[in-house]
């Protein structure tokens, strides 16, 4: 196993970055670690059984699906414990499965890489995934296609795990597309709704635009390194490749990340993706899949470390999306869309952090995980509200629900406190770290992050107030009630994580930063202002946001129909014209191009051929008149021809 032998030398070869003193050794997996494939296999088998099993599994399907996810979680926990038992530099295991192919010297192996980074993701995916599976049992209870829903969920979990466990960009790409497919299937799960089908297609197509970047990035790696395995690529990145190539690869990977993580300019699909069932929004479009872009950037740290321009691009994209998402979140009346805007914004934070390089990688992952907790919590809470309100999503029809659904309210409130970043909730630690790192990097970026925190506080307070406080604005037939236990227990679990996740991850056992340090490196910049001042500033901004929302929504009656707002509000309601731009720049010209090409095809290309055929046909129908049908004409021609032959023979004196 030649390819496994090695160490990621490149991890240590850094120009300007202080890396770990210990060199991370990638070991061949043995013992428990060689069972890593079970992580993927369990949900994959679950998906296969559920999707191929047919109607006879309709009654047990949700149990099988949940069991597969929970089983995977159990394996993950076991692996995590085993990994904790290793020393810091030896927590990276390569699990060889089989050689995928070898074409013209390009070898790709289906190997799994279990290290600190993937372990973090595995735990998040299987943990939150399991909770959401359980929640879905209740949420999807009345759907006749529940079995299939669980099949798709399992497929998603398997693909997402493959994504984070892959040890080769091409294998990662399989998982990348697998989650895209699962996302497509789940957004369009209620296919009878044309809007769902359109949203699903949009999500897939926009993701494909990002995939172009991925494909080209891998192709570039082949040109540069002759391989796409992490090992070779990361080792090679530090061994004399021009910055141009690294920047190119970095930007292409960023394009892929933008597609998957709904970052500007490929953000438009995420809001539409809320057409899917709410657990899907929680799991895929909040907690896990949309963060795959962040994973990709962090995983490619070795490249980004040496590609400053690409990194800057990541920061800029993150900052733009952060503000865009937050602004959109302020204007949406649909509770899920408001949360979706929030998701975009939070992922913007993560991207921003990831773009800061070793100073931010760990914080990006940290925020990613805490966000996974509290955003899943918020989405599931929203789902619970919708469940009790006849699938109503318009917050202007909610109000004063805290009494009707106390558990939902309580857990939602915990998620709310986490996301706006009040200490000691999870979001405070993770977001604050990012804001710190941003200020340390660049004051402008820092201000963006700070502003984002304020807007977050505003729109989340708005959601909170409109839903659980203010006055009742329910529809006449609404009878809000608390959701069944199978739904509330996951909420409670996630609520607990929203509270404790941040501090726990940051401080227990050295914390996540140390845990990730062998993979991501570590770096500190000096803050331009004292830390305490910065924290105070942040909290002030947050409180200002909350207060503004309080004055706007609690102190004034909420109209049932959204009032016409100023241009900014209108723009935010229309997703800051993202769709309009897409439509004007891509869709309309595309349709025009397609239509004109169809015309060109029939008139031009085919027309040229048919024209030639008609010309020949016309010519022959004219020449055909020579064929009078009269024997005597033919005889005349023959005689003339014979004469010509004689003349020719005389002229050339043939023997």
């Amino acid at each position: 196993m030649n390819s496994i032998n090695s160490l990621s030398q490149g991890f240590a070869v850094q120009a300007d970055v202080v890396r770990a003193d210990t060199v991370q050794v990638v070991q061949e997996a043995s013992g428990l670690f060689s069972w890593t494939w079970l992580l993927i296999a369990l949900p994959l088998v679950g998906a296969a059984v559920l999707l191929l099993g047919g109607r006879r599994l309709d009654r047990t399907g949700h149990l099988i699906g949940s069991a597969a996810a929970i089983g995977s979680f159990v394996v993950a926990v076991a692996l995590f414990i085993a990994l904790l038992g290793e020393s810091g530099g030896e927590r990276s295991y390569l699990v060889p499965l089989w050689e995928w192919f070898n074409a013209g010297g390009y070898e790709v192996r289906v190997d799994l890489l279990l290290d600190q980074l993937s372990m973090a993701f595995v735990l998040l995916i299987t943990g939150v995934g399991s909770l959401i599976h359980i929640y879905s049992i209740g949420y999807m209870e009345h759907d006749e296609r529940r079995r299939r829903f669980f099949g798709y969920l399992n497929l998603f979990v398997a693909s997402m795990l493959l994504l984070v466990l892959a040890a080769d960009y091409l294998i990662l790409f399989i998982g990348w597309e697998g989650v895209g497919l699962a996302s497509y299937l789940l957004i369009g799960f209620w296919q009878h709704k044309p809007s769902a089908a359109v949203a699903a297609k949009k999500a897939f197509v926009v993701n494909r635009v990002g995939d172009m970047g991925m494909v080209l990035a891998i192709a570039s790696m082949l040109v540069v390194f002759g391989s796409s395995s992490f090992e070779v690529v990361f080792a090679g990145a530090g061994s004399g490749v021009t910055t141009g190539w690294l920047n190119a690869i970095g930007l292409l990977l960023l394009l892929a990340a933008c597609g998957k993580s709904a970052q500007f300019p490929l953000q438009s699909w995420l809001l539409d993706a809320m057409e899917g069932p709410t657990p899907v929004s929680a799991l895929i479009h909040a907690a896990t899949m949309v963060t795959a872009g962040v994973y990709l950037v962090v995983r490619s740290a070795a490249i980004y470390d040496l590609a400053p321009e690409a990194r800057t691009a990541v920061v800029v994209i993150g900052a733009i999306t952060l503000l865009m998402g937050a602004i959109i979140g302020c204007a949406k009346d649909d509770i899920k869309k408001a949360l979706a805007g929030s998701t975009m914004s939070q992922i913007g934070y993560m991207m921003l952090a990831a773009g800061l390089g070793p100073a931010g990688y760990a914080f990006a992952i940290f925020h990613l995980i805490t966000h996974g907790f509290f955003k899943a919590n918020l989405f599931l809470g929203a789902g619970s509200v919708m469940h009790g309100m006849n699938d109503e999503v318009d917050m202007r029809r909610f109000g004063a629900l805290r009494a009707a659904m106390p558990v939902t309210f309580a857990t939602f409130a915990l998620g709310y406190l986490a996301i706006i970043g009040l200490p000691p909730f999870a979001g405070f630690f993770s977001k604050d770290k990012i804001i710190e790192a941003a200020f340390a990097e660049n004051i402008l970026i820092g201000i963006c992050a700070l502003l984002g925190a304020g807007i977050t506080a505003f729109y989340m307070t708005r959601v909170m107030l409109l839903t659980f406080f203010t006055s009742k604005r329910w529809a006449d037939d609404a009878h809000p009630h608390e959701s069944p236990r199978v739904m509330t227990w996951p909420l409670i679990g996630l609520g607990a994580l929203s509270v404790a996740g941040g501090a726990g991850l940051l401080y227990i056992g050295g914390g996540i930063v140390d845990w990730l340090e062998p993979v991501t490196g570590e770096e500190h910049h000096d803050l331009p202002l004292p830390l305490a001042l910065l924290i105070a500033l942040t909290l002030t901004t947050v409180v200002a946001g909350v207060a503004l929302a309080w004055f706007m929504y609690q102190r004034r009656p909420v109209p049932a129909v959204a009032p016409a707002g100023n241009p900014l509000v209108t723009a935010a309601r229309r997703d800051l014209y993202g769709d309009a731009v897409n439509e004007a720049v891509l869709m309309r010209p595309g349709q025009y191009l397609t239509r004109s090409l169809v015309y060109v095809e029939s008139r031009g290309v085919d027309g040229a051929v048919l024209g030639a055929a008609n010309a020949v046909g016309g010519l022959s129908s004219r020449w055909r008149r020579w064929q009078t049908g009269f024997v005597r004409s033919y005889a005349l021609t023959m005689l003339a021809g014979a004469g010509l032959v004689v003349i020719a023979m005389l002229l050339v004196r043939l023997p």
């Binding site: 055909r624 064929q627 009078t628 005597r632 005889a635």
Partner: protein, 99 residues
Amino acid sequence: MNPTSYLVLATLLFTIGAAGVLLRRNALVAFMSVELMLNAANLAFVTFARMHGNLDGQIVAFFVMVIAAAEVVVGLAIIVMIFRTRRSASVDDASLLKL
């Protein structure tokens, strides 16, 4: 006697026969004109046979006659058949090759 006179005669007969084929519409006459052309060719063959002192030319002429006989049999049968169905012996009426 020099063969030239015979050859010129053969030429004349041949072209007269050709003219008959070209100008006469009656299938029988046209057919007889073809026979005339064959005969003209035969004359040339026989002339050359004598010129070369070689009987092969006469043999060829003989075969031409035999084949002509066969051809006449079949040709006349065709003419009779056409006449039966179309009540006409004009070659111009048999113009189904057109279109």
